[in-house]
Symmetry: C2
Subunit: 407 residues, 2 copies
Amino acid sequence: MAKGNLVVGQGGGPTAVINSSLVGVIHEAMANDIYASLGERGPIGDIYGMVHGVEGFLQGDIIDLRKQSRSALETLRYTPASALGTARYKPSKEEFVKVVEKLKAMKIRYFFYIGGNDSASIVRGVNRAAKELDYNVYAIAVPKTVDNDLVGTDHCPGYGSGARFVAAAIRNTGRDTEAMGKYGPIRLMEIMGRNAGWLTAATALAREEERDAPHLVYVPERPVTVEQVVEDVRRVYEKLGFCVAAISEGTVDPSGRSIGEDIAPKEVDGFGHVRKGGVTPFLSELINAKLGIRARLDNPYYLQRSFVEMASPVDQDEAYRVGRQAVRAALAGAKGVMITLEREAGPEYYCSTGVVDVEKVADQESKMPADMMNEAGNFPTQKFLNYARPLIGGPLPKLARLEMIRV
Amino acid sequence: MAKGNLVVGQGGGPTAVINSSLVGVIHEAMANDIYASLGERGPIGDIYGMVHGVEGFLQGDIIDLRKQSRSALETLRYTPASALGTARYKPSKEEFVKVVEKLKAMKIRYFFYIGGNDSASIVRGVNRAAKELDYNVYAIAVPKTVDNDLVGTDHCPGYGSGARFVAAAIRNTGRDTEAMGKYGPIRLMEIMGRNAGWLTAATALAREEERDAPHLVYVPERPVTVEQVVEDVRRVYEKLGFCVAAISEGTVDPSGRSIGEDIAPKEVDGFGHVRKGGVTPFLSELINAKLGIRARLDNPYYLQRSFVEMASPVDQDEAYRVGRQAVRAALAGAKGVMITLEREAGPEYYCSTGVVDVEKVADQESKMPADMMNEAGNFPTQKFLNYARPLIGGPLPKLARLEMIRV
């Protein structure tokens, strides 16, 4: 075990549990303080936090994480968003050299970055530059993303909580739509996920009965024509009297063009003025033109990645564990890897942790496999539901309906 | 006590607790079944539900509420949206006569309508028509609205749960914005309330420290110039490095024009193309033009009135109680009244129930009094916070921040 200081940062879009991973790193790093009480120094000295990621680190914006109150850290485990501040900065090769020089100057041997694909590429960059400069750094990526699009791991911390939120959201808005009847029978909910439909597909976990929302689910991995969407909505509406659809912000048509952005309104005959701003405003206008019903919109925007009151306990626990495991892996000599979650076989859900080379993770995207969506491309399959259900940490509260016993 | 059947309906926008009131009516109506077990018939015979309100009732769409499973009713207390289906229908004078004729034909003496201003006007219409036709009906309005805009009551069932949701929503999105830093430092959250700012103001309950969102709150009762909003945002942003504002959908400028709708983009110098669709898209473009920062948007749309997982326990209890009290009031001979909540004096929050003449409630709107907003018109006062805090049913979960101890 190399002796040295530690630095940790957070990158990319925040989630409801990314601070659980941060506290996991800090707690595990502090766990070696037991050496100190034995009169011996542990391998980890100071514990630093980069404010606004590697960008802040380059500018010298660094805080002391050993001096935080223990009770504040405990509360931070259940506090949404990135407490260190996040960044979307992509350092150049020269800047990675500067990062490593700074690590060297600060006697830092342990480098942790909590985030998604871009964060993995930062760990890769630090790892490569450290090798070139022949400075021994244990750089580890800690996975995080509501999009669930990291390769090499069963799923990503942050996803389960986002999934629980969007499932609850569509279930509630579904009841609202059903109650509105003819005063607003069609509702479209737009969900985050530019290239991957994992989060949008998770809305399907809300559906137990035929009347339950969502009735239709569209994801970027399965292109659909706008005509199919309108026809799907019409069919559900005619059968149930209302219809609620979950639509990924990145839904594309078969030519690969983004619906609502690349597809210009004028290309679709028979309707005129359209509000800009994405797939659901576009489809709402189209449905109005074709079916004569104004589809209402829902969009949980930033709530889906930050609504901590709906965080999945499984997700909170796993986010904390990958943080702790990152430190253990580094102390065991791992470098240039991302911590992974590995689902164990058996009747009860459990994930252990593992590692994957960041070279395999950086700049890659994990997308929903074909057999997780049905043939029509408008609803997830049972295989997806089996995959996603344990991640939201238990069922949503039970709801009821009246029996329609006519008099 | 007149013997007769009972009918209950739900009107207007659903809430997270409107079914609690429905179950309250059913439970209290069934409570008089004790007479039956004593070999004596109680005053209330059949218990009917109007499907989609008075509109469905006129069309004969009526269900039997005595035949519902007891356990389903128990779950329904905690199920969002209007289980009977809602309506926005305003009957004509002739139709009110038809309603009363139908009540007479079905031997209905007890008429309950759960809803807001429009629902109170339906109870008024039924009450007036019944008098004219000399048919004895106990017509009672049961209050409900997330907007909190009914007169004659301390507050409205539905409001406390909506308030709890929007406070949590802005708190979470506030942490997300703070974490984003320069990658998205300004966020605007649009909240329901066309003419009344009660729900938007409730976001202020989330704020405990200077950095906590919301930093600015705008309501329809306090017109503001768009220039003031931009200047307020600039000031907060310069001080904190980020800014989160809660803005009522019905915010107007001093001339009474709706910001983002009546105020055309071209009237405001220096910026060009604007997305249509309300106050926050408009202000986002304006802030971008004036400050050079694209303000990001949040809009909880239908979630704010349906997100039952965030329902206030105080609100759930009060919604249930006003339902029960409506039946008790009717059995005591009240007619043409709405049940009210009356806050009792004393250190502990408690509301008892009362009644108010529907003639005083129908078509009226309760707005925030002037002393519930600060002088600048950009944040609620302590008086408002004291009023609203007990309604959300306990504090939101505690959050933490790191101490910025620079190294």
